[in-house]
Symmetry: C2
Subunit: 225 residues, 2 copies
DNA sequence: CTCCCACCGTGACAAAAGTCATCGCCGAAC
DNA sequence: GTTCGGCGATGACTTTTGTCACGGTGGGAG
């Protein structure tokens, strides 16, 4: 017997407006699949078509260049959905998805989901909401990439991390410099140098991968120029 | 008497699935407004909420930095819609819209349109389609910005223009270097220099603003490195 | 015809980004 | 304890990007 995924679907924003009964029905159409950490879930250009939902774990969504350089677009966690765009325009995936942790995805047939959206416009509106959110974030990324230096993007990211933390707390960089580089759209060395420079200037303190920001405002000011 | 805008609405992809009668109904709720060339339709951060439709003319959608530099996100023409994201999440506009030509926009009340999407899920699906398209384009932009030099982006743009032309034809640059810079996310001088360099290398021929590409493949190859 | 003015082109720098190679350190495996 | 491998730091350069300042030009307004 396959387990019921209704409980998992309940945590999916896309399905926020559905009743438990409705979730049960959907859950019966869902197929689970596991991925090892580092596994490629799908690649840019590949044909998509189904809706994927993160049941557990995290996925990196990124774009890859021929040179091997990568740019992180987002990280999707439990409850997030992937590949909605492909579901609706039936086009290929426009990015690559790689399991950041051990990962379980639920797959829902594309045409089934499309139909479901027609039958349940609330769900369609949620899809719109999710896409809208992505669009906003992506525009932010574009802005950072065109207007800010690597330094600026790094500072912005540190400030973002700091916002999720109690003020003054030391934050652990979960990623290594290579991953940070992918996030910021640059290369390892520049991350290293810029962290070093920020440290040298006293704007951050660092020991190992633990960062403290002695003066948030000073860092913020730095961002404006 | 206000004119009927049903004919105009017919050309809007969002409403592609609606009958003429339905369009007539919608048309009655629409308010037109004119803008001079160069006029700011809305600014980033401003509160939105209504759906805007390009009745005639063109709008530039762009993001602006504090320094005055700009990055073009898209150009919307007759039949395109603006501000869908704000309609559905009721957030502020995430970009600035500026009339590129004399412009007439139709405005449709946000909550009315949201309701309409619930009543007519086909319309909601079209919204999803439009947002999906934007997302794809924007990801392409992100890729260009992170992986390509100004030169590369310029070449890519020239090739894109060339694709819309009969092969071998000379293409007119409709934009001046300043506007090209905004499109490519850089500054005027770099556009000038890079065009000059491409010319010097024989990859393009230029007289005034008329560009010919003697060897498309040569230019394409150039892009890969 | 002449005078502007909007645009283009460029030289000269300064700063940032990216590449390559090398060194050192820490922690896990043996 | 020793070894090895992954990761971070960094020096030395090259290339690209961006800034400032000027000089030139062509086309429209008067």
């Amino acid at each position: 017997m396959s387990p019921s995924f209704a409980a998992s679907l309940r945590r999916v924003p896309l399905f926020a407006n559905l009743s438990l009964d409705q979730l049960d029905v959907l859950a019966q159409h869902v197929v689970a699949r596991n991925y090892q950490q580092g596994a490629v879930v799908f690649s840019e250009g590949e044909a998509g078509g189904d809706l994927l939902i993160v049941h557990s774990g995290q996925v990196r969504i990124l774009r890859t260049a021929a040179t091997g350089r990568q740019q992180l677009l987002s990280i999707e966690r439990e409850g997030s959905s992937l590949g909605e765009v492909s579901v609706f325009d039936r086009g290929p995936y426009s990015a690559t998805a790689i399991a950041l942790t051990p990962l379980t995805l639920l797959r829902l047939d594309g045409s089934l989901f499309r139909n479901y959206c027609v039958q349940h416009p609330e769900v369609a509106l949620q899809v719109i909401g999710v896409l809208g959110h992505r669009l906003r974030r992506l525009r932010g990324l574009v802005e950072q990439l065109t207007f800010q230096s690597v330094r600026g993007r790094l500072i912005a990211y540190l400030l973002e991390l700091a916002r999720e933390q109690p003020a003054g707390a030391t934050l652990r960089l979960a990623e290594n410099n290579e991953e940070l580089a992918v996030r910021l759209g640059t290369v390892r060395e520049l991350v290293s140098r810029n962290l070093g420079r920020l440290h040298g200037e006293g704007l951050i303190r660092m020991q190992r991968r633990a960062v403290t920001i002695p003066d948030l405002d000073a860092l913020r000011t730095e961002l404006e120029k």
